[in-house]
Symmetry: C2
């Protein structure tokens, strides 16, 4: 716990991914004042992976020497599954060097700081609640729509962790029990229907069925169906391409059904969508909201806004930093 | 708030339905020590409806005169939509006499008691948490499967109310965006797939398609397809009727998908199933759990038990009483 950290202190946020570590010094208003980036060595030993994290933190102190003695908490967004209560990383598929690795304790050995660890969507949701698009609300549903779909649920100002810290796997809520198979083994998860990857896959499948209708999209992909990406779908749709508009339209419908389910269960005060594909869908938030209202049981839910995330690329750094402030007087 | 009510005090729980009012005096261990029943006059004026509630309470005091001065809180399960914070009943379809009716305040006028109001599934979940199958857990998912499907979510010992008190409409989580139309206007809600009503409807539809295969079930219904009820399906299935077993099997699959979604979002410590159809499905809880594990993204979820509700017919009385104890030192 970082009970002594106040909103006046600066903290460090670290974002650990499969290929890189980003770290930043973040002030009490959620502003990233210094940041660094290092490559993540996750194919070697557990200590090699740790060394990548420590070197990203060290690089911050090189840039801002005065901070070394002033910073008392480090918050880390790490790939799950992990245990946010103990800071142990269990067995993330894309960071194979860590198996039951006590990341929080190991980092704490090298810095006289409290260390907190959580997954990126939980932490990202907390950062939005504290400093971003969720300011002023107590109950926030946050989703980051990118390669996959991650979600964080903030209830009464705290991350909903559930029994073992694994709650808020909202990307794997199924809205179609007969739908396509997700990597997770379930069918019809929103991740396999509406993530960036899924948008591209559905466009590719549709192109294979009727290539003549998708000429415009195919051009953007240099004539190669397998090169179609979600950004190309969005670009062609923006230019009025009916084929790409259909792919996008189906995506909006999926998201509306999914968010309707979330709202029926949780009735949050605000829905925040981030991530690369989330950002891309921003022009269509109003349409998602309109459709979501038809997929909610209660007319009172119509007032729940869908808004874009405040943090973009630096969501992981801000999220890590936010972990330091949770449980504080903020 | 009933902050002064302790687990040593007796309280009154009232269960208001479309046709009857049940009321009970409940002790601090959740035992119903006295109970009464009155008819609910919900077609007249708002005051007529109120009079039904008051007369059920009055009947309790007639049976147990000593309680009149000792009871300081009345908790009421009422049909939603309602506002649990103010105790106002908004516009329940099956209790047309109350429109924006301040039920808590009106009852409080007649009794020098605190009065709390909530919907039956929220209150029922709280009673299970305090005194029933959820004892010892802090995070409980409760579902009452009957004519419809209602749900209550207890997080950290408190009802999850959401923004306006309308959260936990879990019966209207859709698991099939192309599924049958629910009364609520959504498609593929678990209520339209797996409630008692839905089990009967699916059996009837299946009988219409292949009457020769459903002879055994049809016999139980006196030869009339439209008389098939969910209890008959369960009975025929128990006797080994393949036709009815198929209907039941599909129900278990729907419930598994739905509970998998709930677990992926909330990771509760326990799942409690009650209601008439819930009770009927009790022999199959193990099978639901086995299948649910395939519809959950995380292997750690496999340890989340599915258990039967402790309260049966009196869930509403116990639930009302439980409302009095929430926020207390219990």
């Amino acid at each position: 716990m970082c009970a002594k950290i106040s909103s006046l202190d600066r903290v460090i946020g670290v974002d650990v991914g499969g290929t890189k570590v980003a770290a930043g010094i973040v002030d009490g208003q959620g502003k990233i004042v210094t940041q660094t980036r290092a490559s993540m060595n996750c194919r070697g030993s557990a200590q090699d992976g740790l060394a990548s994290v420590l070197s990203a933190i060290e690089a911050l102190f090189v840039q801002d020497a005065a901070s070394r003695k002033k910073i008392h908490c480090i918050g880390i967004c790490a790939p799950g599954p992990l245990d946010p209560r103990t800071g142990v990383i269990i067995n993330p598929p894309n960071v194979p060097c860590w198996r039951d690795f006590p990341l929080a304790d190991e980092v704490a050995k090298h810095h006289s700081s409290h260390v907190k660890v959580d997954n990126d969507a939980n932490a990202g949701g907390l950062a939005e609640y504290l400093w971003g698009a969720g300011r002023g609300f107590r109950n926030v549903f946050f989703a980051t729509i990118g390669t996959g779909i991650g979600t964080g649920i903030i209830l009464d100002g705290k991350i909903l962790h559930g029994r073992t810290g694994s709650a808020a796997e909202g990307g794997h809520v199924s809205i179609d029990l007969n739908g396509p198979l997700c990597n997770c083994g379930k069918k019809g998860c929103i991740e396999v229907l509406a993530s960036g990857t899924a948008i591209a896959r559905r466009a590719q499948e549709k192109l294979a069925e009727s290539p003549q209708r998708g000429v415009r999209l195919l051009e953007l992909a240099g004539g190669d169906v397998t090169s179609v990406r979600s950004e190309m779908v969005a670009k062609a749709a923006e230019a009025g391409d009916p084929f790409s508009l259909e792919v996008l339209d189906q995506t909006l419908e999926y998201l509306a059904v999914w968010l309707g389910n979330v709202v029926d269960l949780l009735e949050p005060e605000v829905i925040i969508l981030g991530g690369g594909a989330g950002q891309m869908l921003r022009p269509y938030f109003h349409e998602i909201q309109k459709r979501m209202n038809r997929w909610c049981v209660n007319s009172r839910y119509q007032e729940i806004p869908i808004v874009p995330a405040h943090y973009g690329e630096n969501a992981g750094i801000a999220g890590g930093a936010a972990l330091c402030l949770s449980g504080s007087s903020l």
